[in-house]
């Protein structure tokens, strides 16, 4: 039988048609997709004993308690720990994947000097030379840590300045710090006791402050209720997710927040809605209404609503003294449900010390966000675990990645109660890295070490005998035999929470109504920096997924 070209074509057509009635295409497709996930250059955790350890997330100043699942000594999974008194098991989406950041392609593994590879010795020699030639600045992104003490000590001993790059939440507290003389790190928002919260664009449900704190509060007291226990009034030009979920959204024109705050103050004072007296802002209600896009009646109603159910807490998105002044008028300073002063345990963050002369060099700690760019001609020594690209630093100095450094976690900026934790180093760094504190200790061996400061703080907490350590179980500080035992509990992932004190006195007085333009020294880089706000995706992922650990699970 002769096989023709037609036969071949028909046979091939039959084979092609028939193959789709076999598992070949589907199984091969499935296998190839799996094969692409297992290429040899994709890091794979080694097989080995699996253990779960408690630690704290060090990505930001919130210090969320985490459970780290370790396989053969490597972290392979992270979840929130519900025992944390502030976060209650919540984590931001980045926190869930933090352990993978150590494998990020942009991870810094070597010292770089203007694009070329250098050594630690070269970096130290350059820093020592710069420090001997002129004044230096040490920029810290998270004050109050044991590392911060080392940084500040170095600056003080070497005639340098110590500056703190404040987060958006800390900046919103800075007017009260300026008026009362209390450090920003000692101030906090008592959200739990506030009955009305007026937010001027602060993304309360979009990653503001400590993950889970306001979200929990809002879901318990306000979500889905027409007359909630806690009212959230969101004043914002756009219908953000926070605005959409708020009890009331007040849309205003962009950039008129300070003007609206002044108008509200005027109504509060003129119509005697608040018991205190204060400076009356300039301008008429009609003008303010025209500029803000509201009506005079709406502004008056808003003022009445703010005064109706107190305590009322006003929160700004950033440093805006006109917004902060509303809390002074409403009597929300140093009272439950307002701006509160925390206890001083452990030691509060050191104050900034800013020099008023040009700098020779600046050392930037790894906690300072990457997009913070110095605006002077000083030689910059930038510590970072990851290279964010496009940086103007002269020296890029690799620091330990996630869980590769033992560090302490002082009270988060917005917390109303003092908190202290220690995150242990569960991993050994795979590259020659140094923290800024270790670097400075090599330059000046007389500086205190991080561990010494942590020991001292644990002793301080132990001596005060206040509060309790939250871990798998809650233990009062008084139940610990020694400061060493207390430190051991904290190093094992426990979190110390101070006792709730109704309110420490906090006095602020306004001589004149503040403007909305805070002035900064051009030499103080940190205060002029505008910090970014966490993207809305963070809160979206948190709310719409079951990533967080429900509280009852930890109790079982």
């Amino acid at each position: 039988m002769k096989v023709s070209r037609r036969d071949l074509l028909l046979g091939t057509a039959g084979l092609t048609a028939g193959i789709f009635f076999t598992p070949v295409p589907w199984k091969v497709l499935d296998d190839v997709s799996i094969w692409t996930q297992n290429w040899p250059w994709i890091p794979q955790p080694p097989r080995g004993p699996v253990a779960t350890k408690l630690a704290s997330c060090t990505l930001c100043s919130s210090g969320c308690a985490i459970r780290v699942r370790m396989a053969a000594g490597f972290p392979v999974g992270i979840s929130g720990a519900a025992f944390h008194p502030l976060t209650k098991g919540a984590l931001c989406p980045l926190g869930f994947a933090t352990h993978q950041l150590n494998w990020h392609p942009a991870r810094l593994r070597e010292v770089r000097h203007r694009g070329r590879t250098a050594s630690w010795d070269e970096a130290r020699a350059a820093f020592e030379k710069a420090a001997s030639e002129g004044p230096i600045a040490i920029i810290d992104g998270r004050s109050g840590r044991a590392t911060s003490t080392v940084l500040q000590s170095f600056a003080a001993k070497h005639n340098g300045s110590y500056e703190v790059a404040l987060s958006a939440e800390e900046k919103s507290l800075s007017p009260y710090a300026q008026w009362s003389g209390t450090p920003v790190s000692s101030l906090g928002y008592d959200l739990e006791n506030a009955r009305s919260i007026v937010s001027f664009g602060a993304p309360l449900l979009d990653g503001w402050g400590i993950p889970g704190r306001f979200t929990h509060l809002w879901s318990e007291r306000a979500a889905g209720k027409s007359d909630p226990q806690s009212r959230l009034i969101q004043i914002e030009p756009a219908l953000s997710r926070t605005a959409a979920a708020a009890w009331r959204w007040v849309p205003i024109c962009q950039g008129t927040e300070a003007l609206l705050a002044a108008s509200l103050a005027r109504v509060l004072l003129d119509e005697r809605l608040v018991p205190v007296q204060g400076p009356v802002p300039q301008g008429s209600l009609t003008d303010a209404a025209r500029q803000t896009g509201m009506t005079p009646t709406a502004i008056r109603e808003l003022a009445y609503t703010m005064a109706e159910r107190r305590p009322t807490l006003v929160i700004g998105a950033d440093e805006n003294p006109a917004i902060a002044a509303l809390n002074v008028l409403l009597g929300s300073l140093g009272t439950p449900g307002g701006i509160v002063k925390k206890s001083v345990h452990p030691s509060p963050a050191p104050p900034s010390r800013v020099l008023d002369k040009p700098l020779r060099a600046a050392l930037i700690d790894s906690t300072v966000p990457w997009d913070y760019v110095p605006s002077s001609g000083a030689e910059v020594f930038r510590f970072a675990a990851w290279d964010g690209g496009g940086n103007r630093a002269d020296w890029l100095l690799p620091t330990p990645g996630f869980l590769e450094e033992s560090t302490d976690l002082p009270t988060p900026p917005t917390s109303a109660v003092a908190v202290y934790g220690i995150s242990p180093n569960l991993l050994t760094a795979s590259a020659p890295v140094k923290t800024a504190a270790e670097f400075l200790q090599q330059v000046d061996s007389t500086l205190p070490t991080v561990d010494q400061t942590i020991h001292a703080r644990c002793k301080e907490i132990f001596r005060a005998r206040r509060g309790s350590v939250h871990s798998e179980k809650q233990s009062p500080v008084a139940s610990f035999e020694s400061a060493a035992k207390l430190e051991e509990a904290l190093r094992s992932g426990g979190v110390w929470l101070d006792e709730w004190t109704p309110a420490f006195p906090l006095k602020c007085s306004l001589k004149e109504w503040p403007t909305d333009n805070p002035t900064h020294s051009p030499l103080n880089w940190a205060s002029a920096w505008v910090p970014p706000v966490m993207p809305t995706l963070a809160a979206k992922l948190y709310r719409e997924s079951s990533l967080r650990e429900p509280p009852q699970r930890s109790q079982s």
């Binding site: 037609r6 036969d7 028909l10 046979g11 091939t12 057509a13 039959g14 084979l15 092609t16 048609a17 028939g18 193959i19 009635f21 076999t22 598992p23 070949v24 199984k27 091969v28 499935d30 296998d31 190839v32 799996i34 094969w35 996930q37 297992n38 794979q44 955790p45 699996v50 253990a51 699942r69 392979v76 999974g77 992270i78 979840s79 869930f96 997924s545 079951s546 990533l547």
Partner: protein, 194 residues
Amino acid sequence: MKRDLLVFVVGVALALAAGWVVFPRVLYSHRSQPVDFLHKTHAEKSGTADCESCHAFNSDGSFAGLPQNDTCAGCHADKLGTSPAEAKLVDAYLKTQTSTPWLVYSRQPANVWFSHAIHVKRAGLACGDCHGTLGASDEKRLYEQDRISGYSRDIWGHSISRVRRAPHDGRTMSDCEDCHHKRHVEVGCFGCHQ
């Protein structure tokens, strides 16, 4: 016309034969276990009928998985019989203190977190619900590995068509999801892919 149809049908038949018969044989490579292990014989001779005697849980509740050499050495520190398998175990692994490289039929890939403790202790599943009668037989099974994905054949299931012979046949993600749906237990993506 008749010839054309015949040629087309022959093509289809060849494709079906290749896809259903030849393809599974080519797709999987076959390997023997490093030591022939007889589950049923061990259970009978040691008098331990429960799986947890060897596949124990740690004190913290986590699953220890395969028994370590110490467990085997509890009986086989020296040779008890004359079987070549025992001789290999003792000489090649126990005396040299080398871990026995068992080939695990049901090993999940690295991107899956599976907790035996949750499924056995909390959900109350029996070992056989997932592992079938493996522990009650003396079958010397070959380890079949998918040449493309590298996974054990037990993950896909014995049948290339994924038509299950038994409830425990197959351990892909959809098998996990089916079981969870049946038991009304919700697990999000991060429940397993943490």
